[in-house]
């Protein structure tokens, strides 16, 4: 949707700058005049929320790094120094640790929104794949950040996860030694994790720029999945329409964020991480942070180590191939009666796997994990097959028509959940 620029420099300085570096034009075209489908629901505010979270994490992280010491003998007490003696250190630290969780809350909503409305389909494949890359970078960053307080879960989480690479044939052991900087998780591991934890967010930032660039080339998807046909009728300019809506969404999200930061700052964490790392004492249950639990459950569901690692990696990588796995031409699952049910089942499977990832590796959890792992991958197979024969419901002719229909037809066709209420409506 990168059409003709509507920017008109008003002052002499702006004209001078525009002829040399059209940076104001770029900002105007991306954040002011950029056309946004007028029927976006609040799930579309999570992109903006994620940008906010990334910036918040970088800002709090940079300040925390000024007070932190990446040394295995000092790291635990350095974090407690921040919590006790640094002015508002407790606030920075809790914003940063809960910020990571909130970042994942937002990214999961964002991913499932993309999944439901088919935002990965042509012409948005590259946009989607860049998103998967960001997700992978986020996971690496979060994992290494969790190691920095050098508590028991930091240490043992790092041990378990880095050890996974040893399952790879031939090069596995070398990779693990390289990650550790030695022959066990120790001070060199902490040092390189700190270094990379500081680096990766800026790599995320770079890929986010590409992600937004790709978005601005192809334009946003929308709840109907029908592409913009008439910019005048189907879209509104980003400012003020999307700006005010995104800021409202962000502030509501900040309420949730603040609830945890100020009232439940350790709810998402694990008590064992307030015990200093001790290589001689293994915790009863080694549990990763909640946002890794579904993948951890898949890892443990496979009895073979290499198989488990492949399944866990595959569970993420398969997302990148979604544009070609899904055979249906219809984007929005609101118009796909079978795929929609698959989607909700997939969501439940993911939540179930998350729960199982937190449970000990005993029966009946192992068997249920295996069933759910099969269902997880089965979703992608089913999506491939269903697209070949599914009869979609009639699509609205345009975004503007969909908006008018919902305004006049009451709540019947307002959003996706509502369309499910009358399965037999044929437009």
């Amino acid at each position: 949707m990168s059409g003709h620029s509507s920017y008109v420099p008003k002052t002499g300085i702006e004209r001078w700058l525009d002829a040399r570096l059209p940076i104001i034009r770029l900002a105007h075209d991306s954040a002011v005049s950029y056309p946004v489908p007028r029927n976006l629901n609040y799930l579309w505010t999570f992109g903006g929320i994620l940008v906010f979270m990334l910036v918040a994490q970088i800002v709090t992280g940079i300040i925390l790094a000024m007070h932190y010491t990446a040394n295995s003998l000092m790291a635990f007490n350095a974090v407690e120094h921040i919590m006790r003696d640094v002015n508002y250190g407790w606030l920075l630290r809790y914003l940063h640790s809960n910020g990571a969780s909130m970042f994942f809350v937002a990214v999961y909503v964002h991913i499932f929104r993309g999944l439901y409305y088919g935002s990965y389909k042509a012409p948005r494949e590259v946009l989607w794949i860049l998103g998967v890359v960001i997700f992978l970078l986020m996971m690496a960053t979060a994992f290494m950040g969790y190691v920095l307080p050098w508590g028991q879960m930091s240490f043992w989480g790092a041990t378990v996860i880095t050890n996974l690479f040893s399952a790879l044939p031939v090069i596995g052991e070398t990779i693990v030694t390289f990650l550790w900087g030695g022959y066990s998780v120790d001070n060199p591991t902490l040092n390189r994790f700190f270094s990379l934890h500081y680096l990766l967010p800026f790599m995320i930032f770079g890929v986010v720029v590409l992600h937004i660039w790709a978005l601005h080339v192809v334009g946003q998807n929308n709840p109907t999945g029908v592409e913009v046909k008439n910019v005048q009728k189907d879209t509104v300019p980003f400012t003020p329409y999307a700006t005010v809506k995104d800021i409202f969404g962000m502030v509501v999200f900040m309420i949730l964020f603040s609830w945890f930061v100020f009232y439940q700052p350790n709810f998402m964490g694990h008590a064992d991480n307030y015990i200093p790392a001790n290589p001689a004492a293994t915790p009863a249950h080694i549990v990763p942070e909640w946002y890794f639990l579904p993948f951890y459950a898949i890892l443990r569901a496979i009895p073979d180590k290499l198989g488990g690692v492949m399944a866990m990696g595959g569970a993420i990588v398969v997302l990148a191939f979604l544009p070609w796995i899904d055979t249906s031409k219809i984007k929005s699952m609101s118009y796909r009666p079978i795929a929609r049910q698959l989607f909700w089942m997939f969501l439940l499977v993911c939540i179930g796997l998350g729960y199982l990832g937190a449970m000990p590796a005993d029966e009946p959890y192992v068997t249920i994990s295996r069933i759910l792992t099969v269902l997880y991958f089965g979703f992608f197979v089913a999506l491939f097959i269903v697209g070949l024969f599914e009869r979609p419901k009639a699509l609205p002719t345009s975004i503007a028509d969909a908006v008018l229909a919902s305004a006049h037809g009451g709540s019947a066709a307002r959003v996706a959940t509502a369309t499910a209420a009358e399965p037999n409506v044929k437009g």
Partner: protein, 292 residues
């Protein structure tokens, strides 16, 4: 409710039920009993520490626990800071001076001992972990600095979800209190080895620490009527020391909750204003025609 969403709800319910049913198995494996949930002055969004309770808790810590358990991250000066026991700076200076702190080296290169100052941290009872274990028959008494946040018990599904709304997060002090009052004679069939004690709430029930508190052991400050305002019982000692340990682990808890209230009030009002701004903006298309 439509057929689809009904089916979904059923599936969700079934999943939830099955998860709930499996829960007891996990707990049994832990070998612990859930500690009773007490009411704490510092719980909830308006929570504040009870100064008198923190001062009593400090007395319990100092007279009983401190002989084995350190609090190496807590400084004497913290005791007079706002949001804590709030002893006067004079009391803290006098208290610190009763401790001998190792300092140095001096001009002759010698280490020396001097009376403590408010800026000093609590001296630990043992020079290192090995010394502690040697003195305690192999067991290591953990440092108290963050212990109230390092102890918990499994809440289980779906309780842990309700905890988000009730703000229940006092697993640490509940467990610590329960541990203090949980010493029992071992049930028939359980034989204790030397150095082992039986505790109802300890995971696995076997604990190296002997029962540390008994009724009347610590004398609490008397009120104007010559009687202590709270009972001098193990239960009360345990509550007081657990509260003190929460403060040690989270010395800025009051400031955090106070700021939380201000932030929440601001955000809710700001969100309300933004909502109506958004509605107004979205009521018309850019050309002025109605949006719907």
């Amino acid at each position: 409710m439509s057929r689809t969403s009904f089916r979904l709800a059923l599936t969700g319910l079934a999943a939830g039920l099955s998860l709930a049913l499996f829960q007891p198995a996990a707990q049994a494996a832990e070998g612990g009993v859930k500690p009773p949930q007490l009411s704490w002055s510092f719980s909830g969004p308006f929570g504040k520490f009870d100064r008198a309770q923190l001062q009593r808790g400090f007395k319990v810590y100092k007279e009983v626990c401190a002989s084995c358990h350190g609090a190496s991250l807590v400084a004497f000066r913290n005791l007079s800071q706002p949001g804590g026991p709030e002893f006067t700076p004079g009391q803290v200076a006098a208290l610190a001076a009763t401790y001998q702190i190792k300092d140095g080296p001096n001009d002759q290169g010698e280490m020396f001992e001097r009376p403590g100052r408010p800026a000093d941290r609590f001296p630990s009872p043992f020079p290192n972990e090995q010394a502690a274990r040697a003195a305690q028959g192999g067991a290591y008494p953990p440092d108290f600095s963050v212990l109230a946040k390092a102890r918990t018990y499994e809440r289980g599904f779906p309780t842990f979800i309700f905890d988000i709304f009730t703000q229940y997060q006092e697993q640490g002090p509940d467990y610590i209190h329960a541990l203090m009052v949980g010493y029992e004679e071992p049930p028939a069939g359980v034989t204790l080895l030397p150095g082992q004690n039986y505790n109802k709430y300890m995971p696995g029930h076997l604990i190296a620490m002997p029962k540390p508190l008994s009724d009347g052991q610590i004398e609490y400050p008397k009120g104007p009527d010559g009687k202590a305002p709270v009972p001098e019982t193990v239960d009360q000692y345990a509550r007081d020391v657990a509260a003190f340990m929460v403060w040690m682990a989270e010395p800025h808890l009051e400031a955090r909750k106070r700021m939380g209230l201000q932030v929440m009030a601001f955000l809710v009002i700001f969100a309300g204003l933004l909502y109506y701004t958004k509605k107004k903006v979205w009521s018309r298309m850019p050309d002025g025609s109605p949006a719907h």
